[in-house]
């Protein structure tokens, strides 16, 4: 046996027991800019909103959510950038070196106030968390557009043709008020509360669920969230993951249980406790937050910063909790 062959049959060298990690990524270069007179340094690629949050400068947001791609549609986060003709959305505009940003100038406050007034005059914001504070902070007075028009009949807004509308006489201001869509056991769609932030469409589509059961249909003020041909959810691609509910900023999408308790006047958020646990169904281990009122689970969410879910769940984790209260005998 030659020495070469002996070498082949010899013990291989000991391997490292360390699991190789990804190659190190160089930290992004720092970008320096000025916000409200302060010099701020943030990593390249950060948005103005990121930079403001790092500096504890409050920027209101409605259509922004950490786990979704910014669509910058609501325009409540606009800020003034020196040299720009118009205001820019803080949520999606990347910082640039030398940028000078004002977050509370008269122009900024004006546009934010108008955006809030326009929304509050056309949408029911009564269950939108934080919006009442925003309206107060910016001195918004939605009533100055006049009295609200009566609500639309069911299906009326869905049927409007793009490029056509009834000429208003000015007696009342148009709203998106319409009956709640209740077509399944699990959640309701109250589009009278919809600010068209696109979040549910994103969560249903590329940003989370990849189901694409809903999209924006129609145009202009008649744009609305819809399944194909306004078909009820049970006859659509919906898988009831409820991730649209999880991202909805106004309560337009709501657990049916919450909707009914609110209608009955028994919904009491102050009396609710929140308990984090792990979903019992499969091995993924999603974090659930159980919202419990008087000993009964009334809603399930998942924290946005949970590493596994990023706030998103499936139908079982979201809705499969009724067995918990189904009887003391384990039945």
């Amino acid at each position: 046996m030659s020495s070469e062959i002996a070498h082949i049959f010899s013990e291989p060298p000991a391997r490292s027991t360390r699991i190789p990690g990804p190659p190190p990524v160089p930290a992004p270069a720092a970008v320096e800019l000025t916000i409200d007179g302060r010099t701020v340094s943030v990593p390249a690629g950060a948005t103005i909103l990121d930079a403001c949050r790092a500096e504890s400068i409050h920027i209101p947001t409605l259509c922004f959510l950490e786990n979704l791609t910014p669509v910058n549609a609501c325009r409540v986060c606009v800020v003034e950038v020196a040299g720009a003709r118009t205001l820019v959305p803080a949520c999606s505009r990347p910082v640039e070196a030398g940028m000078t940003v004002q977050t509370a100038s008269e122009r900024v406050r004006h546009s934010r106030r108008l955006v809030l007034e326009l929304l509050a005059s056309s949408v029911d914001l009564s269950t939108a968390p934080g919006v009442a504070d925003m309206l107060a902070e910016y001195g918004a007075d939605p009533a100055r557009f006049g009295p609200a028009a009566p609500p639309a009949q069911a299906g009326e807004r869905d049927a409007r043709q793009p490029g056509h509308h009834h000429v208003p006489d000015g007696a009342a201001s148009a709203t998106v008020a319409q009956p709640v869509k209740v077509d399944n056991e699990l959640f309701v769609r109250d589009y009278a509360k919809c600010i068209l932030c696109y979040k549910c469409v994103e969560a249903c589509g590329v940003d989370a669920q990849n189901t694409f059961a809903i999209a924006v249909a129609g145009r202009g003020f008649d744009a609305h969230i819809s399944t194909e041909y306004d078909t009820p959810l049970p006859a659509s691609a919906c898988v009831y993951c409820g991730n649209c509910i999880g991202v909805c900023p106004t309560g337009a999408l709501m657990f049916r249980s919450e909707h009914e308790m609110r209608a009955a006047g028994t919904w009491d958020e102050a009396a609710q406790s929140r308990t984090d646990t792990i979903c019992p169904y499969c091995g993924v281990g999603c974090t659930l937050t159980l919202h419990v009122q008087q000993g009964a689970i009334v809603k399930v969410t998942s924290p946005l910063d949970a590493s596994i879910t990023e706030g998103h769940l499936c139908v079982k984790g979201r809705f499969g909790f009724t067995f918990v209260g189904s009887g003391g005998d384990g039945g």
């Binding site: 108008l114 929304l119 589509g205 189901t211 694409f212 003020f221 691609a237």
Partner: protein, 640 residues
Amino acid sequence: MDLVTLAPRATPDERAAVDVVLGAPVGRWDGGERADPEGGHVASGGHAARERRHLLLPVLHAIQERVGWISRPALEYACRRLSIPPADAYGVARFYGLFSTTLRPPIVAHVCDDIACRLAGAEDVCADLGRALGPAGEPALDGEATWLRSPCLGRCERAPAALFTVAGTLPETIAAAPVDAAGIVTRLERTAAGRRLVPAPTDTEPDEERLANVRRSVPQAGGPGLRILRRVGVTDPRSLDDYLATGGYRGLRRAMEIGREAVIAEVTASGLLGRGGAAFPTGRKWAAVAAQPGQPHYTVCNADESEPGTFKDRVLMEEDPYAIVEAMTIEGFATGSAHGFLYIRAEYPLSAARMAHALATARAAGYIGADILGSGVAFDIEIRRGAGAYVCGEETALFNSIEGKRGEPRNKPPFPVEVGLFGRPTAVNNIETLVNIPGIVADGGAAFAALGTQGSRGPKLFCISGSVPGPGVYEVEFGASLGDLIALAGGVTPGRALRAVLLGGAAGVFMGPDSLDLPLTFEATRAAGATLGSGVVMVFDQTADLVGTLRRVAAFFRDESCGQCVPCRVGTVRQEELLARLANGRPNGSVADELALLADLGLAMRDASICGLGQFASSAIESAVRAGLVAFAGHGEARA
């Protein structure tokens, strides 16, 4: 993604319409029959199908034209074929004004009631149609036909205008102007009785009739000293030989000789600014795209001319199509792009027909294609049609539309030169801008720059309409004043006094009669707080209903807002309601309160809207108020 399609099978007609665009389905997966029972588990709906997403609008057009509306089975068949979720495709179909997702009669008269047509009595036409056929949108003539109101159809020089669409196996789209109610009803009746509007194909009118039409739209046609319009009414737009005999393709040949850097240098030296409204330096745009490392690059021509009062690009496409083909080829060569898209609004059937003919003949003669003029350079152009959406004239909305999506503008930056069509570097130019290109490249940028003024080089087209004896497209060298332009069109209608001029379109500004000395240059209009916009000069005399016009402008923006951002989506509604209150003498509080609210709305729309539509939606209205051209009365007061 799990493609869920639950509707019953589409009708043979609907499937045939889709298959004309996409070819026959290959198997069960994409809506056909199971092709290969043995190995039939291979799905073909992945990347290959999704890469054809951009064919969604052509497919929707095909269904709409064949059947007259887009049913759920038809849409879901298209979704199967293209692997698009039905909700998504429905959202797209519901975005465009010329698509219907509810049953609609096959014959439709789209009657323009926009600003210029309104001045020409469009409201009377609509009222008469209502009496003759019933309310807009309701089936008439035994369910065979209906009529609808339409935004500007780009035929303001011969207002009022209408567009007829006839669905069927040989669909037709015909524009007509001027029209009256009786004529519209007769056309609908004849078509319903089985007679075609004109013999197919559409572009067969005799030369004399064609020339008479051209001279009506372009009173200067054939006159001396014209540059942009030099072939209009002189050559046959359907003849490549005519084009070549009048200097055609000199520009492209010189471009190939001097190379792409030199082409961009000539365009930069010419000082040419974009004619679509934004006045961006064309040379700089091309240089930026050429320098982009990302590949491929795209060339897009924005022929979605939808600004109310604008019709110059239509005339250029109809009468000098080869110039546009040549210019796009030069642009593609200079910016390193092999693929061009020409996006024409659906309301311009003759433009699309002439451009398609020019493309086919230019391709056959080797002026576009895989090897242009034996140079080894490849460039080809695809025509895409809009479907009734003003906002698609915004460049990023136009990209989305070509990509088969809702025409929602994107946030900028990034700008199209970096991230444009299909996310690639894209040079996008307006028709009028492009028509200047062959001459600039052939004769040098310096010759072009010698024309016009310091800040506005070259010649410029204006679309004059309203209260003048000779409305039409006019070419002047930059520097002519507003008064000069109106004089070219014969002055204000005899016996009438000038009350106002709408400059730049619905997104432009109203000027008072004291503005006639204003030079129509980029710099002078900017200094005056006005805009050239798309070159609209619409003349209003003292008989015009200016308040009604303002309400129509407000209604236009409310209709055409894409709905994406709050300031525009709701602001345009509030603006229209506010004008209605003022017009009806029922202000909330005082008139001054309402005007302050109007200004508040305007500022927020201007500052916080995503795109130019919202940013300029209050421009004309506020300018008319500011210039004192309209006056409103409060409760119980007489109107001032």
